[in-house]
């Protein structure tokens, strides 16, 4: 996958004609000096990539097969880390929660922004107001949104139950109930992140040529038919891209469960990344943490590769 990406990018780099060589001798030395200068410019960036991207990726795989305690030499333990992690009762819960979270976030976090963008695109007044307001929660630090909703969900004086009482509806346990906790967190994440999605959908909707709608209307298509046969096919590429990006982002959810529920109640909101954190910083088991990281990495790598492939083919079409 890596190779394909590299090759595809490489082919996208425009090839410029090589300027005529200088007439004097010492061409080779000149070229060497140019190369040295080019690498001088690259040095800082490359060092950081090597240290904080490439090396950790390799190291995750290596440590996954080691018993690793900071300060003492690592020992090879084969697949012991993987089997230990697999037998952890929290392992199943973490994956189940993460996948459920991702699926729910996709259902809610995809449908709501799309409908909102559809409606906003029809409104001809206060356009700037809507765009600013919907994006406002994105700019609030995630920790603050998490703490804010933790307070809203409070069973005592929380605003969420107050609102239900005001509407004469039965109150909910929200994050305190094992069966409602995960959905409550999805609501927080959707509220906090929806702005970007809405704006991107809006831009995509605005690029649909108006003649398509006119033609569809002349053919007698009603509102829903126009959405189905014009809007959705025309924005299909953006929809697919955002879905994949969202899957990649929500599979790495950490802040909301960490801040709001602490993984509870009864492990109902432990996510894979949370479990990785626990292995490393609570159990001091870096081998187990890396084994989990590798599993997450492989799955997310597949989604990312798919995403890059899609964006690249989209670019070539344009």
């Amino acid at each position: 996958m890596t190779k394909t990406a590299a090759r595809r990018t490489a082919s996208a780099v425009p090839v410029h004609p090589v300027p005529a060589p200088p007439p004097v001798g010492g061409r080779r030395r000149r070229r060497l000096a140019d190369q040295a200068r080019a690498y001088g410019f690259l040095l800082g960036g490359l060092t950081c990539f090597a240290l904080f991207s490439w090396y950790p990726a390799i190291r995750a795989v290596v440590i996954a097969f080691q018993k690793f305690t900071p300060g003492s030499p690592p020992e090879w333990v084969g697949t012991a880390n993987f089997s230990r992690v697999l037998h952890d009762p929290e392992f199943g819960a973490a994956w189940r929660n993460t996948l459920t979270f991702t699926l729910l976030a996709l259902l809610i976090g995809f449908a709501v922004p799309f409908v909102l963008a559809l409606v906003l695109n029809e409104l001809r007044h206060a356009k700037a107001f809507f765009r600013v307001v919907v994006y406002l929660p994105v700019m609030i630090p995630p920790v603050v949104s998490a703490l804010l909703w933790k307070w809203f969900y409070d069973p005592g004086a929380g605003l969420a139950n107050e609102a239900l009482r005001f509407l004469h509806l039965p109150t909910s346990n929200w994050t305190n109930g094992a069966d409602t906790a995960l959905v409550s967190l999805v609501l927080v994440a959707t509220w906090a992140n929806m702005g970007g999605t809405v704006l991107i959908y809006l831009a995509a909707l605005q690029s649909i040529p108006g003649e398509l709608y006119e033609a569809a209307e002349l053919d007698g298509a009603n509102l829903l038919q126009r959405i189905r046969h014009v809007t959705i096919p025309q924005t299909r590429f953006v929809i697919l891209m955002l879905m994949l990006l969202q899957i990649i982002a929500t599979m790495q959810v950490f802040t909301e469960p960490f801040v709001i529920t602490g993984g509870g109640p009864e492990n109902a909101t432990v996510t894979v990344l949370y479990l990785i954190y626990k292995y490393a910083f609570l159990y001091n088991d870096f081998g187990g943490a890396c084994a989990l990281s590798v599993m997450l990495l492989v799955l997310l790598g597949l989604f990312s590769a798919l995403y890059l492939r899609l964006t690249r083919s989209g670019e070539e079409d344009a």
């Binding site: 690498y39 800082g44 904080f52 991207s53 950790p56 809006l202 960490f258």
Partner: protein, 291 residues
């Protein structure tokens, strides 16, 4: 003036269409106000209520007595100046490091034709496929014990600054922008005797102001909003940025004080957004259509 959308202008011009339009419009305004503005209003005003009033059910919509005690307490008790300053230092350094090293590397890859340039670019783009969060543990171990140097960057802002440079997205954004600068412009500078550094500084950078603005905003927001990474690398309370400090202190502090601290922590990024909202929104919208 506006282009044709889902609903035809003719349908909107009819009395029924106009009534429907204004109904939907009012509904959306109400929904947006309730869903997005009200929580912010609630946060900002609850911090001004007395501790008893905050716990009341049903809650009061407007504080009975406006007092700024919550805010001043948060400022003093939670050491907010210290944590805000830490965040500013971390964000500003990450921004500067990214701007210097990513720009230089992107320029080299785009214009200086280094040997193995394509391989390097491939390696950088491959990191886009590796989700950041999935690698935090090995990255933490690397920062805790740097290879060759065997020093630890834990509790040091360098632990934020240096990994921030390894941002393939921003680097690629810059490189793609530099690719569009015509070669003749740079060759003209070269004929006039300008070296690569001079060309970058006096010609490429002034032409790249839009993309530098976008990268700057991304860099600042990313550091300000981050939580897991600073939680790992700053165990020392005095070094923690505001996001980590808020969570650590949220356990045993009065609600009004905590809420006031949350408001204060949100102000810088919300202010940045309100000032640059047109650029930020245009950037997000443009980024999507280009992919």
């Amino acid at each position: 003036m506006s282009t044709r959308t889902l609903v035809s202008p003719a349908a909107l011009a009819r009395p029924r269409g106009r009534a429907a339009y204004w109904t939907v419009f009012t509904g959306v305004v109400a929904l947006f106000t309730l869903a997005f503005l009200f929580p912010v209003y609630w946060m900002a005003t609850s911090a001004m209520k007395s501790p008893d009033e905050v716990a009341e059910t049903p809650p009061t919509l407007v504080p009975r007595h406006w007092n700024l005690g919550g805010y001043t307490d948060a400022w003093d008790l939670m050491q907010l100046p210290q944590h805000l300053w830490n965040t500013v230092v971390q964000a500003a350094g990450a921004w500067l490091f990214q701007l210097v090293f990513c720009t230089a590397a992107a320029y080299a890859l785009s214009k200086l034709r280094p040997a193995f340039g394509k391989v390097i670019l491939g390696g950088i783009l491959a990191t886009l496929m590796v989700p950041v969060q999935a690698l935090v543990v090995p990255k933490y171990l690397t920062v805790a014990d740097l290879p060759l140097l065997h020093t630890s960057l834990l509790n040091d802002p360098l632990a934020i600054w240096l990994p921030a440079v390894a941002n393939a997205f921003n680097l690629y954004l810059l490189k793609r922008f530099f690719d569009q600068i015509p070669r003749d412009v740079l060759e003209a500078a070269e004929i006039d005797g300008a070296g690569p550094l001079r060309t970058l500084w006096s010609i490429v950078l002034p032409m790249s102001r839009p993309v530098l603005g976008v990268v700057s905003i991304f860099a600042l927001v990313a550091v300000w909003q981050d939580f897991l990474w600073p939680l790992m690398v700053f165990s020392d309370t005095d070094k923690q940025p505001i996001s980590v400090a808020l969570v650590q202190l949220s356990q045993n502090i009065q609600l009004t004080v905590l809420v006031a601290a949350m408001v204060i922590a949100s102000i810088p990024m919300v202010a940045l957004f309100l000032v640059f909202q047109r650029h930020i929104i245009a950037g997000i919208s443009a980024g999507s259509t280009k992919g």
